[in-house]
Amino acid sequence: MPEARNFTLNFGPQHPAAHGVLRLILELEGEVVKLADPHIGLLHRGTEKLVETRAWAQALPYMDRLDYVAMMCNEHAYCLAVEKLLGIEVPLRAKYIRTMFDEVTRLLSHLLSLGTHALDLGAMGIMLYTFREREDLMDVYEAVTGARMHPAYYRIGGVYRDLPDQMSQYQKSPWKNAATLKKVNKNRQGSLLDYLEDFTERFPKCHADYHTLLTDNRIWKQRLVNIGVVSPERALQLGFTGAMLRGSGIEWDLRKKQPYAAYDRVDFDVPVGVNGDSYDRYLVRMEEMLQANRIIRQCIDWLRKNPGPVISDDYKLAPPPHETIHSNMEALIHHFKFFSEGIFVPEGEAYAVVEHPKGEFGIYAISDGANKPYRLKIRPPGFTHLAAMDEMARGHMLADVVTIIGSQDYVFGDIDR
């Protein structure tokens, strides 16, 4: 009689459904997963060590490269931690801009998550739609910073600049005749806020299309319902946050419970799941997109009516306006000191959190009074979620592992740091 033994399968690190460089060692009995052992660290860049040798302001662009689909939210947590250490208050307009861009970022992240999740499970079309909307939001990023992926827009004490009054236009090319140009440039005639408002008006229709494509789709439900069920008790025990926790029925959203930026001034609802399976988490993320859209609209309204400064005017902590440095001696000195030595952060430690699209993103910063962080610990949401992979995948079929990966919605930039 042949000996029966488990089959060990190496999944990744180069696998399109692994959402990055995940190496997963799966022990299978037939097609059933008996053990899942994720090997991570293939994207480890030592961000936490690197920033110990960079001035406080120089560490900010590293934050973009953590979770590279939710760039501005990472920056936000870092800025909040340093601002807490410095004890400074950010101008209200900067808070609204941050809130608006956090939500734009949330849409970016959820759209990518939805598109790739569906793509992994065989629904090709949805990805094309979500990336169409992502394109518009990337243009918003580009308009304000010039970068589509790694903006480095938030600064300690505010944001880099105020919102631009005009959008860049498509130029004439062999592929775009006058009629096409007129069409693609139609919503780019006004300011950034006009462009974004136009998007928020179109988005609910797009969102309804995703629902039509997926929510009652028989295949989609067969692949998601009752897959990767996590009870509320286990979710807490495993340190889940964000949509993973809300999917299990625990109403916990840092934007409501421990508000930061302007979240206590805007109106939104927190969706909560019931069964704690992949389908509920999908529904939670879907609803969060609509809520994000709602918050963006409120921020646009407020930002239109309330001009003002967007960064702290304490030039020991934020650079002076660039126009002044060639005419004002003091501004020149501040500029020089800021960009050579950097800022000095008083001795202390702070832990700041934001409700990142994927969960609680925390920065624990220790300063010994120098111009560089003494230690910076990044608390990525995906790290704890992926740690629960074994528990969530055990007993499921091999194909369900892909569902769980998509449902956990992690990104390796922040897991590996």
Partner: protein, 203 residues
Amino acid sequence: MSARLETLKTTLQARLGSRLIGMDEILREVRLEVSAANYLEVMQALRDTPELAFAGLMDLCGVDYATYGGEKGENRPARRFAVVTHLLSIQHNWRVRVRVFAEDDGAPRLPSLFHIWNSANWYEREAFDMFGIFFDGHPDLRRILTDYGFVGHPFRKDFPVCGHLEMRYDPEQKRVVYQPVSIEPREITPRIRREANWGREHA
């Protein structure tokens, strides 16, 4: 908010007072200082006392205080390695930070929190990988972020940022080889400490 912070502090003092080394409020966050011997007991109490109910371990990280405070070493703690945890109570909506120093600087050891909060699993593996802190009672203490076969603990302050080994493809041997690093660590902006309020004397 500050009333809640006071409630938290009073409750912590009443429930754990004798088992703590210290309790500080730093920038509106509470930090508990615990000895390694009382660590597990205090953590268990933090989770199980209904008035505290810290059901979630949000973060756990190692810290190496070897060069804290620059050359003068002002305020540098007596011990080198600490483990800092951030706990969250969803029920009461408050957080607490717990810091515990390992007794032995050469081979730091601390009890594992895995059996209190399962989420400690990977965080402790990370602290072990990065700082070489051993966690007694951890079910699966392996390296997590560094390469297979990595030597050393990269986040220790005596580990250079450029590392010790570099890897390249050797066309003669037709394989990847490891060799000592050929670059030197350089620091463009030096680390400087200034006394508080520096530059603001005339403001």
